[in-house]
C-alpha cells in the first residue's frame, strides 16, 4: 500500500512537471509557428505567379476578396479597408461554428471551409496588382492518392479570354517522385501557362490533365506512374475554378478598362 502511494505520487509529480514545461513552451513558440504557417501560405499563393520574386510584399501587393458559395462577392479588401471592417466580417464568418476561428483575411482557407456544407462555404480570391495589371489568383482544393491536394491558380484576362498565367500545387502526402511531382516538377506546372478555362464557344471547360493531350489550349500531360494524383488534379481544376466563374465574369468586363 505504502509502495503504491509512492508510485502514484511519482507519476503525479512527473506528469505535472511535463505538463508545465510543455504548456510554457507552447505559449512561447506557438505564435512563431502560426506566423511561419501564414508566411508559407502567402509564399505558396505568390508562387502561382509566373514572374515571382522573393521580395514581393504580400500585404502590399495582394488584396483579398471573399465570395459566397454562389460566387457573389461578400467582402472586398481595398487600400483603405479598416481593421474593424475585417474584424466584423471575420466575426460574421466565425458565427458558422464548427470551431472555425478566423482573425485575418488570410486565415480564410478551403481546408477549414470543408467543414461546412457546400452552400455555406466561402471562397477566397487573391488579386495581385503589379504595374497597373491585376492578376486574379483563386484557391482550389481536391483529393490526391493518399490525402488532400490543393493549389493556387493565377489568371489574367487577355484578349477577351481568361488565361492561366501560372499554377502552384501543394500536397499533404503524395508519393515523392511520383504524385509529389505536381508540386516538385516545374515542367508539370509550366504546362498550365497560357491554357484557357473557356472553350472557343464560351463554354466553361477548365484544364484537364490527360495521358495524351490533344487540345493544346485546354489539356496538359499527366504524370506517368501517378494516374490517381493526375486525375485528382484534373478534377480539382474543373470543379475548383467553377466556384469562381461568376466573379471572374463580373471582373472581366472591368479588367479591360481598369487602369491605374
Amino acid at each position: 500500500m505504502q509502495n503504491n502511494i509512492k508510485i502514484y505520487l511519482y507519476v503525479l509529480v512527473m506528469t505535472s512537471i511535463s505538463a508545465a514545461v510543455l504548456s510554457f513552451l507552447y505559449n512561447v513558440l506557438d505564435p512563431l509557428q502560426a506566423k511561419n504557417k501564414e508566411d508559407a501560405k502567402k509564399r505558396s499563393i505568390l508562387n502561382s505567379l509566373p514572374d515571382v520574386k522573393a521580395d514581393i510584399d504580400f500585404d502590399k501587393t495582394v488584396k483579398i476578396t471573399l465570395l459566397d458559395a454562389t460566387g457573389k462577392v461578400i467582402f472586398t479588401q481595398k487600400e483603405d479597408t479598416k481593421t474593424e471592417d475585417i474584424d466584423k466580417q471575420m466575426a460574421e464568418l466565425n458565427k458558422r461554428g464548427q470551431g472555425v476561428k478566423y482573425a485575418k483575411l488570410i486565415d480564410v482557407d478551403l481546408a477549414l471551409e470543408e467543414k461546412f456544407p457546400l452552400d455555406k462555404r466561402i471562397y477566397p480570391v487573391y488579386s495581385y496588382v503589379s504595374a497597373g495589371k491585376t492578376t486574379q489568383i483563386v484557391s482550389i482544393r481536391g483529393s490526391g492518392l493518399w490525402d488532400k491536394i490543393w493549389g493556387f491558380i493565377s489568371m489574367d484576362y487577355k484578349d477577351g479570354k481568361w488565361t492561366i498565367s501560372g499554377v502552384n500545387f501543394e500536397h499533404k502526402a503524395e508519393t515523392p517522385g511520383l504524385g509529389a511531382e505536381i508540386k516538385d516538377s516545374k515542367d508539370f506546372k509550366d504546362q498550365f501557362k497560357g491554357k484557357q478555362i473557356y472553350d472557343d464557344a464560351g463554354k466553361y471547360v477548365s484544364v484537364a490533365v490527360v495521358k495524351v493531350p490533344k487540345n493544346k489550349n485546354w489539356e496538359v500531360k499527366s504524370i506517368s506512374g501517378s494516374t490517381v494524383t493526375s486525375v485528382g488534379v484534373s478534377e480539382m481544376m474543373i470543379r475548383g475554378i467553377s466556384y469562381y466563374l461568376p466573379y471572374l465574369d463580373a471582373v472581366s468586363g472591368k479588367a479591360l478598362t481598369e487602369k491605374k
Binding site: N3, K6, I7, Y10, V11, M14, T15, S18, V21, L22, L25, Y26, L29, D30, L32, Q33, N36, K37, D39, A40, A173, T175, P176, G177, L178, G225
Partner: protein, 212 residues
Amino acid sequence: MATETKDGIFGKKERGLLLDPINDNNPVTVQILGVCSALAVTSQVYPALIMALGVTLVTAFSNLVTSALRKTIPASIRMIIQLLIVAVLVQVVEMLLGAFAYSAYEMLSVFIGLIITNCIVMGRLEAYAMANKPWQSFLDGIGNGLGYGFILVVMAVIRELTGKGSFMGWRVLPAEVYTVNNLMVLPCASLFLIGILIWIQRSANRKLIDVS
C-alpha cells in the same frame, strides 16, 4: 589502472561512448534499430539532417534525464516514466522545428512524432541510462544519435543524387548528363540501399566479421 579513472570528464571511455555507435556498434546497420524512419526520411538530404538532429537531441536529453532520475524511478513503472520523458522531449523538438525550421517541419510531418517509437531511444534508456551516470548517458545518447544520423545522411546523399540528381535541393547532375532514377526516391530503394551499406560495413570492419 588508476590512471584510467582519472581521465576526467572526457577520457577514453567517453570518447568510446561517442564514437562506437558510429561504426562498430551502429544502431541502424549493426543493431538494426530505427530502420523505419531510416527508410522513410532519406529521400532528400535536408530533412534527413534535421531528422538526425532531432533524434540526437531526443536520445541525448532523454538519456540525461532518465539517468538523473534512475535511482528514484519505481521499477514497476519505469517504462511508463521513460516514455513520458521521451514524449515530452519529442513534443519540444516538434514545437522548436515548427517555430524555427518550418520547411523541415512540414517535410518531416508525422515522422517527428514517430521519434517516440524509434527503438534507438527506448533501447538506450533501458540498456544504458538506467545503469549509468548522467554525463556518460548524455554522451551515449549523442553518440547513438550521431551513428543513426550518419547512416541517414549517407543514404540521403546517395538517394537524392541518384533519384533527383541534386544535393540539398541544388541540381548538380544536369538532366542532359544524368536521367534521374525515380526508383531511388521510393522507400523500397532505401531498403536495398541499407542492405548494401550493411554488407559493405560488415566486409570492411573486422570486428563485425562473424567468426562462428
